[in-house]
Amino acid sequence: METELKDIYLKAFRTMLTSRLFDKKAMKLIKQGKSFFFISGAGHEAPQVAFGMFYNSKNDFAFPYYRDIAFNLSVGVTPYDLFLSLLGKKDDYFSGGRQLPTHYGAKHLNIVSQSSSTGMQYLQAVGVAHSIKFKGDKGVVYVSGGEGSTSEGEFFEAVNWASREKVPVVFVIENNNYAISVPFEKQGGAKNVGLLDHFAGYENLLKLKCDGTDFIESLQVMEVAYKHALEVGEPVIVEANVVRLESHSSSDDQRKYRPIEELYEQQEKDPIKILQEYLEHCEIVTHEEIQKIYNQIEDEIDEAAEKALIALDPEPESAIKYVFDENPPKLNFREPKYLSENKIVMVDAINHALKEELDKNSSVLVFGEDVEDDKGGVFTATKGLSTKFGTNRVFNSPLAEASIVGTAIGMALNGLKPVVEIQFGDYIWTAYMQIRNELSTFRYRSNNHWPSPVVIRTPVGGYIHGGLCHSQNIEAFFTHIPGIYIVYPSNAEDAKGLLKTAIRLNDPVLFLEHKGLYRNALASTLEPDDEYLIPFGKAKIVKEGSDLTIITYGLMVYEVIKAAEKFINQGFTIEIIDLRTLVPLDFDAIEKSIKKTNKVLIIHEDTLFSGFGGEISAQISEKLFENLDAPVLRVGAKDTPIPYAPNLENFILPSRKDIETKIEYLLKY
């Protein structure tokens, strides 16, 4: 046997054994109360180390799932690094002690920060692969997962997108036959076919299978997989059949649900045992030498653990850092210069903002459902853009919202600036997992190493006879999430200035556009220039007054202006605040106004119960109690879905009369 190959085998053996002994030590530390959670990789080591042999941390990216201890060790993570994470220490570079153990991430090795929501990583990996192809780079994205996670719709979406776009990603499915306690045959309805058979129709997808307990076979298959992705630039899926030697996690006991015979039988399939026997059989190494290697690694592991145990803990105050970018780009905020004397409608202002930013920054990509010409978006917000910038940069996505956000995250992780469209806010919910658990946590969970600055635009709002699923206001679901900015403009000028700022920041932004304002003359303004940016967290005083403050945003701004007119004519003065951004909230503006008027009315189109107005009201009560000369009142939609028939819809959504009644009450109070 060639020396080179012997060295590779021996190196692999050492890595696999290190992984296994780390595993054992980790469980010991948990039983000693030094850590609280661990997921074993025992039985999974071979395919991980096999792929790690080819991984190039300069050009490739990795999304190793929680059983991938051996993969991490094979590409440069050390046992000490693993212990720092296990013990939640300050110098843990996976997350700085923020994430559960076994959630990997190393910027210097291009290992992307992983979350617990298994299955979500596939779309992000495809997004990175898409960005590699877009940039013309040469690299491969490794993404692994258990067979259980393939039941998530996002897995199918990811394979679908990768095949459609032909991008260099390798999906490695480590099939140990158990998703915690549920065996593979109980996961789905397709009987007597393997995982790969599900993708029979995907011609661009290379489908490979290996015995993941056999390192030699795994190495051969992974070589094919890696080289195909790298050289051909197309996706590969590998199903590696492995064994799960330990329980699902430190919180689980597999003896409670797996047959005892099976547990004994699988000991024979222990990949380390198999490789050891092979090495001894080929006389690459003697049994005594193996024993020596074992003792040596065990000492190294103990030493690393001791060192990590006395390492510094993170400072408690550090826990509030990196929700958002703490060093945002210095943007030049100034007064607008107007391009002409003609007004433009809000949807055109949005279109122009996209066009200008696509023009100024080649990293900007725009995609979503129906955004390409000649349709140019169902509301024409993207009209003309694919014609001008090509379908590489402006393109249609499949009809899959999780795909849109998931791949956008991946692209952003690799330095692109995706500005995606969700066709209606009412359909954003399939992407909610990607937004809640992934997009808005990336910077935080990676301790500032992996920002994911995606801009999501979506039309919202009612009064257009759109029924239950074309009328929703969705802001309250998102303002509750730490780590994502929420913008809600009320006119063309603000929409343009705010969208351009959103695209230039390094944080995720949800940009809400009211359908009723797209072509509304009330929201039309002169068009500001291409460098006009509006800072986030600066509300606009639409009207000054001293008898009452009204806080609102979006379409409601105009209802409020009209309702207030009646009382202004009677001699009252009413201050109207258009928040423009809900996160960050300009509480300074609210405070300044209430200290003057001492009365406040909060108005939004969304339903009242747990609505965003509740948050504003709570903050006012907490911070301005002694400045209140009247109760804090709100106007919002009734707590129902939004019905279709105009008279039903009008009954549910806030009316001018509702607003007038509350204004009158507060003025008299």
Binding site: E626, N627, L628, D629, A630, K668, Y669
Partner: protein
């Protein structure tokens, strides 16, 4: 027999009078010459003694109403009458019943009015005040009692921001005339370099209180000299450990407060007030402490039940009110029901003063600066010259109640207690 009571003519030129207060309620028995009501006229304000004996059966003029001289303001009956409501199943007219004259009549509208007044009074007690109105009141030192008669312009008579601001403005205007310049108008004859501006509320309140005190209490001051060397040495020696142990500074004032609380137990008349000819001896000792506020103000919060606190407790209380006074965090409660006041102008290096009583209290103790002086002490029947820490204490008291003897005894007691203070608190 029914007697009519009329608005009296209290001066040759008078044509009308204002009924200020009724001392009796309808149905109540009144003796001849017993105070029946108070009136105010342009010339005099006075109590009117009842010209007859009997039961007050009708009140025709409400409080604070002004009526012409000779208007019948009330009726008194020589016999006790039953109370009958003419709206309740009695068909007789008011006149008939009056002629019959064996019953007290309350006309329906009067009854409504009384009910309305009662409801109002009830509502006023539990009257809702918005957080803003409350915070304005606190800043301006306005009590709940003070505003209970304001009629609010908000929904259901709520006192709005504008109502309370208006009230404060009017009050300032009123106090300017009554208490600051006493009606003397300053006529500006030439353009002099003068700065003219409104008093703030605190200043006008101080001005008002000073005038009230001067006009009511008969001030007299007595001064004694106290040797406080032992206390001063003790403070010097223990100030560090005291602050470490209790978190506040040990001050000379704390000792004075302690001794004065004890003295007030010994001399309860100095812890009293006068209400006309009545002496109100207070069983609680709430010691007021005058606190100077920059740039030109004064607050006198009091330490409640000061006699129940030891020196440590007093030091803490003193520190607490001082800090809250500086931060404007004192509440109405801090000012209410004071019984005696201590003012320490010694902090400004003043030797002694003649302080003005914090009316309706009857005495105030002024504390001067502690100075080292050469004094003659007799040791073993030999006169010696010693350097001692000395302080002058001034007691101003209301001579209507407290004469020189009581004032002197009180001062002597305080002096003896301070000079022989048991210094063993650590």
């Amino acid at each position: 027999m029914i007697y009519e009571i009329k608005m009296p003519k209290m001066g040759e030129s008078l044509t009308e009078g204002t009924l200020i207060k009724w001392h009796k309620k309808i149905g109540e028995f009144v003796k001849k010459d017993e105070p029946l009501f108070d009136i105010a006229t342009d010339k005099v304000d006075t109590e009117i003694p009842s010209p007859y004996e009997g039961f007050l059966v009708e009140i025709l003029v409400e409080e604070s109403k002004t009526v012409p001289i000779d208007t019948v303001v009330a009726k008194i009956s020589s016999e006790q009458l039953d109370l009958i409501d003419i709206t309740q199943g009695n068909n007789k007219t008011y006149d008939e019943i009056e002629e019959n004259s064996s019953q007290i009549i309350i006309r329906q509208e009067e009854k409504n009015e009384i009910a309305a007044i009662e409801t109002n009074a009830k509502n006023n007690n539990k009257r809702f005040l918005s957080p803003l109105v409350k915070s304005i009141m606190q800043k301006e030192y306005i009590s709940y009692d003070e505003i209970k008669d304001i009629k609010g312009s908000g929904i259901d008579g709520r006192i709005t921001k504008n109502d309370i601001l208006e009230y404060i403005k009017n009050k300032k205007d009123a106090s300017k005339f009554d208490y600051y310049s006493r009606g003397i108008e300053f006529v500006k004859t030439e353009d002099l370099d003068e700065l003219v501006y409104e008093m703030d509320n605190m200043r006008s309140k101080i001005a008002k209180n000073m005038v009230i005190s001067r006009d009511n209490a008969v001030h007299v001051s007595e001064i004694t000299e106290v040797d406080v060397t032992d206390i001063i040495n003790y403070i010097e020696k223990n100030k560090k450990s005291f602050e470490e142990n209790y978190g506040v500074k040990l001050t000379f004032t704390a000792f004075v407060v302690d001794v004065v609380s004890k003295a007030l137990r010994q001399f309860p008349l100095l812890n009293a007030s006068l209400d006309g000819n009545k002496i109100i001896e207070k069983k609680y000792i709430n010691l007021g402490i005058a606190i100077a506020l920059e740039p030109n103000g004064l607050a006198v919060p009091n330490i409640k039940n000061a006699d129940q606190l030891n020196l440590i407790g007093l030091a803490k209380k003193l520190d607490d009110i001082k800090i809250r006074a500086k931060n404007k965090k004192l509440t109405m409660d801090d000012f209410q029901n004071g019984t005696f006041t201590i003012t320490n102008y010694g902090v400004f290096d003043t030797l002694f003063g003649t302080p003005i009583i914090n009316f309706p209290e009857v005495a105030i103790l002024g504390v001067g600066a502690v100075k080292k002086r050469v004094v003659v002490k007799t040791l073993n029947e030999i006169d010696t010259i010693q350097i001692r820490s000395m302080v002058y204490l001034s007691l101003s008291h209301d001579h209507r109640l407290i004469d020189g003897m009581l004032g002197g005894k009180f001062l002597k007691y305080v002096k003896d207690e301070l000079e022989n203070y048991k210094l063993n608190l650590m």
